[in-house]
């Protein structure tokens, strides 16, 4: 066996970031953009205008089964969630389906924990790691609601789409999971969908966000914002 290179994980937006001249860093085995332009500009865009970030490395699990809720409640001491509601990265998509978002690299442990709990409880629950299968793009900033209203028919007003809720919808003619995850009071939405559509969604957002002077934002700015 001869492998000379260490495996590195790339997001579907890697080539776009390269073209934009981003500098890269590594995050739990993923190569991700650190800064596209300047840290200051990217932070300002996120806080005052509109920013776009590639968060594909975030862990993503699906937990399916009629008993999924009880497994979650037993394992994580989670309170009851209604459909579309979320708490601490766990979002109920259907009565029998939960989406679990973890920080990068934590998905394996989470999966193991939930699988073990399901087996112990003798419950028919399937835990699937779909981290590699979904692109995750976060739009951040005061203009993010306006931007999304150009590509998606959902009502993004906080009264209709509160923080920590998740909805599956058509977005730019594709199916996406949209999670509201504000950052320090700044509106922010994660758009999670097929990785093969990631570049298309990114380009669509950039085009739709041109009127808001949307700016790609790297890991450094996200870290500065507390993400």
């Amino acid at each position: 066996m001869n492998t000379s290179k260490t495996p590195i994980k790339l997001t579907p937006l890697y080539s776009i970031a390269q073209r934009l001249g981003a500098t890269f860093t590594e995050q739990r085995g993923w190569r991700i953009p650190e800064v596209y332009t300047t840290l200051k500009a990217e932070i300002a865009a996120a806080q005052e205008g509109l920013a776009l970030a590639d968060e594909t490395p975030n862990g993503k699990l699906l937990l399916e089964g009629d008993q999924a809720e009880s497994v979650l409640m037993d394992t994580l001491k989670l309170g009851a969630l209604k459909v579309n509601e979320g708490h601490d990265g766990i979002y109920r998509l259907r009565n029998d389906l939960f989406f679990i978002s973890t920080p990068p690299g934590r998905e394996a442990n989470a999966r193991k924990k939930l699988t073990t709990a399901s087996a112990a409880a003798e419950q028919f629950v399937t835990v699937t790691d779909i981290t590699h299968g979904r692109a995750e793009i976060r739009v951040i900033g005061p203009d993010s609601q306006e931007l999304l209203s150009k590509v998606c028919g959902l009502d993004f007003h906080p009264s209709a789409f509160p923080n920590e809720t998740a909805k599956q919808s058509s977005l730019a003619k594709t199916t996406q999971l949209i999670i509201r995850r504000d950052i320090g009071g700044v509106p922010a939405f994660s758009i999670i969908g097929a990785q093969s559509l990631g570049a298309y969604i990114w380009d669509t957002m950039v085009e739709a966000g041109r009127e808001f002077e949307i700016l790609p934002t790297g890991r450094a700015a996200l870290a500065a914002l507390g993400v």
């Binding site: 260490t6 790691d129 209203s149």
Partner: protein
């Protein structure tokens, strides 16, 4: 200020043609002056601090920012802006509000632009449309001479005989028809859409609209306020409200209304935005330039105002005949005089307001022609204007506009006691402008779309809403309320009610009740003055009152039939200018009342909208594999497959195919559908979904399967692997992945989901097929897994680390060679692919694309579902009977397949070779056979064909009659253009029929 004139006349404006400081001295000889531009005044929307230039039919003009094309041209004295649709008569500004077709022009490559609504931009190239050779000398106007040949509905009657002349007629008519030109080479431009959600939508921002918005917002509702004009205020922008006594909730005049609005955070206003239609559940559609809004609201306030109704009289379309509101817009908004000597024709106080404005601006009011008696006129300007010598003709009306290309005079007539024209009372008045103010038609299209009803009030000669559906409210002139103070009061309550309906506050039944408002009559029932020349009812389609009478006489006597036959209200104005007049004419001709005659159906769009805005962004989703950039970097020729972009080849597909046969190749098959099925119920589900058996597939094994629908038609195919006890891994065709996932979901949710969980992993794993005799050697260099044939035989699945990445290996292939399909997590795709290429390159491995794969699979005789099969193909006929187990318990399609099996397939899919090995028939060509009479009959068709670089001859798959197809070597004929080419049936795979190379 002049004696006897009300304070309204205090502001005296001067015509300033000679003092235009706008003109650049160096270009005086080329730029047109603006003799009709007034001195600055309060309330105008133009910015006089700067000028911009544009051209109209090649002539240079100047304008100020804020000018519309029409206002700038009128300032320059241009009266003729367009030619009419049918007779090519000159047309000038009529409504100045975007409601009529008279100022449609071409701007750049954009046809049918309303010049009165489009702001001038620097460098604009404005041209008249539908003219030949020019606007002022349009030879097509000679069609008027043949107008007897073109009566209403002429296209059903004339230009039919003699038949042989039809090509000439058609050529001529096509040349003459249509408005504007579209340059198909012009870039389509950028269009987009936006979804809006709110509690209350208010359509129209006149005093009623603003007040309704305030009423709703003060109730706590989020409000979207739309107006098609460039600023809020409606008619208050160009008229002065009379007798205002405002309620405490709202301010007293427009600036104060706007100030109140600006202080209201719950209201978002959209100007230059036309609401196009109302759809079920308060779904509204609106357009602003290149953007389409889709609006979801809980309640709607229709405050769309009213259209000023034109009067029908001889030559009523002559440039210089203008509605009163149009004249006021020009004066107040743009500081432009519409004429120098005016005859006002009116039946209400609004006409007197216009007369007062014009008089105050120095225009010679040649006469006020009021069809009412002197004592019926209650205008505050009545005595003042008379006192300063303005001639007033009571009980008179206009009979004819005089002039050839513009108004030069007016013939007026006296009315007798019955309101008819008194004989021998015609007088001629010199004028260059005829302003008509005869009344109003409420703009209730949205109300009608929403299910609201109106009734005609004979007392007021207007329709008045009598019922509205829940959540729909009407305010202002649309509700028949003309007095501004009443508009504001009632609209505020309508807005408040709308907010309550939307869930804000308690419903106050007492407050919600509409007040009993007494409105004086403002609209005349006289819509047409008889005469001897053309009198236009419909400006869009050049339909006259005589045309209407003819149509009714021919039997089209219901208003809906009349509309369709005459095309009235089907042009750009969509009835705004003509609908009410037509109803009156129809009622009179039929001897019925207006109420009995009814109205036509209102449909979206009620305002012009570009196809681009409706179409939206010109983007379609594109799926790319995780190594898309690698393909581009290595010269791949990409092709679209479903939504996917995939490498078709890297330069030489035949060489790629040969390389696979001789050494090996690597293809990116990431688009393959990949589904995970878990649970104890999976085997049962697979037995139902696939046509073959699955309960006996052991862990670690892979099996090919075909899916059918319940009619036995092939839906999809692929392999399914048994990973571990209750975990299965299914692959589907690349373009069918989503359909199969939805198909399975449908069955899972329809009773077959017990003990099954389904997850789409198509994007989670990238997949590469390493095929060819060297593939094992390559893979062995990258994994510790024992790949020997015995340890890992054909149709098996194994977990293995490839280049340190955990993968699934499937020993399958579409090419007929020893092959491994490597499924790895997508994030690692480039690493794994490059590792395979790095190692494989030394062994002669090269990437190959879809074209090479298609050649290779055809050499093996493998079908492609969707190419070799269609919506009628069953697996028994498609040469896949081996994959159908009719003896197993029920599965999708079994009853149909049982019947086909019993009766025997009528057509079969078989391989063929050409007698001439170099002739490759195109896919889709017909297989033919001679009939008794010698004619050729279609008996089949080619579905796949290629020149095989391995066999060095043309091969293919085709559908043939079963008796012919079942004879190996049987001859048949393929029609290629005018030639017939011989082919013969080939049973089995063309290459490696025993399948040894797969299992080596």
């Amino acid at each position: 200020m002049r004696d006897g004139v009300s304070p309204h006349f205090a502001i005296i404006y001067q015509v300033s043609g000679a003092v235009i400081g706008e003109l650049m001295q160096t270009e005086q000889d080329t730029l047109k002056t603006t003799p009709n531009r007034l001195h600055p005044k309060q309330g105008e929307v133009i910015d006089r601090s700067t000028t911009i230039r544009f051209t109209f039919d090649g002539v240079k003009y100047i304008a100020h920012p804020g000018d519309t094309v029409a206002s700038a041209l009128t300032a320059a004295g241009v009266k003729v802006l367009s030619r009419s649709f049918k007779y090519h008569r000159p047309r000038g500004l009529l409504c100045c509000a975007g409601h009529c077709p008279n100022c449609l022009v071409q701007i750049g490559d954009e046809p049918n632009v309303r010049a009165c609504m489009r702001s001038v931009e620097a460098g604009m190239d404005v041209r008249a449309q539908n003219v030949w050779p020019s606007l002022n000398r349009d030879l097509l106007s000679l069609t008027q001479l043949g107008s007897r040949l073109m009566p209403v509905g002429f296209y059903y009657k004339t230009f039919i005989r003699p038949k042989k002349l039809w090509p000439l007629y058609e050529h001529t008519l096509r040349h003459a028809a249509g408005l504007g030109e579209v340059d198909i080479d012009t870039p389509s431009g950028k269009f987009d859409k936006q979804y809006l959600h709110t509690d209350v939508v208010v359509v129209g921002s006149g005093p009623a609209g603003i007040s309704a918005a305030l009423g709703a917002a003060e109730g706590g509702a989020q409000v979207l306020l739309f107006d098609e004009n460039s600023a809020l205020g409606g008619h208050l922008r160009f008229t002065v409200p009379l007798h205002s006594s405002l309620p405490s909730q709202v301010s007293k005049d427009l600036p104060e209304l706007l100030e109140a609005l600006s202080q209201q955070p719950n209201v978002t206003a959209f100007t230059d935005t036309s609401v196009l239609g109302w759809y079920q559940d308060n779904w509204l559609c609106a357009a602003k330039g290149a953007r389409l809004f889709k609006i979801r609201t809980k309640s709607v306030v229709v405050a769309t105002g009213a259209y000023e109704t034109p009067l029908i009289f001889d030559n009523n379309d002559l440039p210089g005949v203008m509605l009163g509101s149009a004249a006021q817009r020009l004066l107040h908004l743009f500081g432009v005089l519409p004429g120098r000597q005016v005859v006002i024709v009116t039946a209400n106080e609004d006409g007197w307001d216009v007369a007062a404005d014009l008089q105050a601006l120095g225009v010679n009011v040649a006469a006020i022609v009021d069809e009412r008696e002197h004592n019926a006129c209650s205008s505050p300007y009545r005595d003042g204007l008379a006192n300063i010598g303005v001639p007033v003709f009571y009980r008179h009306t206009i009979r004819e506009a005089i002039g050839s290309s513009a108004v030069s005079g007016a013939k007026i007539v006296r009315l007798d006691g019955r309101g008819e024209i008194a004989p021998a009372t015609t007088q001629v008045l010199q004028c260059d402008l005829i302003v008509t103010s005869m009344g109003w038609t409420p703009a209730t299209e949205l109300l009608y779309m929403a299910g609201g009803k109106s009734e005609y009030s004979a007392d007021r000669a207007e329709t008045v809403p009598v019922s509205t559906p829940p959540g729909i409210y009407v305010a202002g002139r649309a509700a028949g309320i003309h007095a501004v103070d009443s508009q504001i009061t009632e609209a505020w309550q309508a807005g408040s009610n709308a907010a309550t309906f939307a869930g804000f506050g308690e419903f106050d039944e007492l407050a919600a009740q509409a007040s009993d408002i007494s409105e004086p009559r403002r609209t005349s029932e006289r819509v047409c003055v008889p005469g001897k020349k053309k009198r236009f009812v419909c400006y869009c389609e050049d339909v006259t009152d005589e045309d209407v009478e003819t149509a009714i006489a021919e039997g089209y006597d219901s208003i809906e039939l009349l509309k369709r036959y005459s095309t009235i209200s089907m042009g750009p104005c969509q009835g705004a200018m003509c609908s009410m007049n037509t109803i009156h004419l129809c009622a009179r001709a039929n001897g019925r009342t207006v109420q009995e005659t009814g109205t036509t159906t209102a449909r979206p769009p009620i305002a012009p909208v570009t196809l681009g805005a409706l179409a939206g962004q010109n983007v379609e989703p594109v799926q790319t594999t995780p190594i898309h950039q690698w393909h581009l970097d290595h010269g791949a020729n990409m092709m679209v497959a479903g939504l996917w972009l995939r490498p078709n080849h890297y330069g030489d597909p035949a060489a790629e195919a040969v390389c696979v046969r001789k050494q090996g190749g690597l293809i990116d098959v990431s688009p393959l559908g990949k589904l995970q099925l878990t649970g104890p119920g999976v085997p049962k589900l697979l037995e139902r979904i696939y046509t073959n058996q699955w309960h006996n597939l052991r862990v670690g094994r892979v099996r090919y399967g075909v899916m059918c629908n319940d009619e036995g038609v092939v839906l999809n195919d692929g392999v399914c692997a048994h990973l571990k006890d209750e975990t299965w891994y299914m692959t589907t065709t690349s373009t069918g992945a989503t359909a199969v996932f939805e198909w399975l979901q449908w069955w899972l949710q329809s009773g077959w989901g017990e003990g099954v969980h389904l997850t789409d992993l198509t994007d989670t794993y990238a997949a590469f097929n390493l095929a060819g005799p060297q593939s094992r050697t390559v893979l062995e260099k990258l994994t510790a897994r024992n790949l020997a044939n015995k340890a890992f035989p054909y149709m098996r699945i194994r977990s293995a680390k490839i280049a340190d990445v955990p993968c699934q290996l499937l020993r399958i292939g579409f090419t007929g060679e020893l092959a491994y399909e490597v499924h790895c997590p997508s994030g690692y795709a480039l690493h794994v692919w490059e590792a395979l290429m790095d190692v494989g390159r030394e062994l002669g491995i090269a990437p190959f694309g879809l074209e090479a794969q298609r050649i290779l699979r055809l050499e093996k005789g493998h079908i492609i579902v969707g190419q070799d099969t269609d919506a009628m193909s069953d697996p028994l006929s498609a040469n896949m009977a081996w994959a159908v187990k009719l003896n197993k318990p029920d599965f999708l399609g079994k009853p149909s397949l049982m019947r086909i099996s019993a009766e025997g397939p009528k057509q079969l899919l078989v391989g063929f070779k050409m007698v001439d090995p170099d002739v490759v028939p195109a896919e889709g060509l017909q297989v033919v056979a001679p009939e008794v009479d010698g004619r050729l009959k279609i008996i089949g068709w080619v579905t796949s064909s290629r020149f095989s670089p391995t066999l060095e001859e043309a091969i293919g798959l085709c559908w043939l009659p079963a008796d012919l197809a079942s004879q190996n070597g049987a001859s048949f004929t393929i029609r290629m253009g005018g030639d017939l080419k011989a082919a013969h049936v080939h049973h089995g795979a063309f290459y490696d029929p025993s399948g040894e190379r797969l299992r080596m």
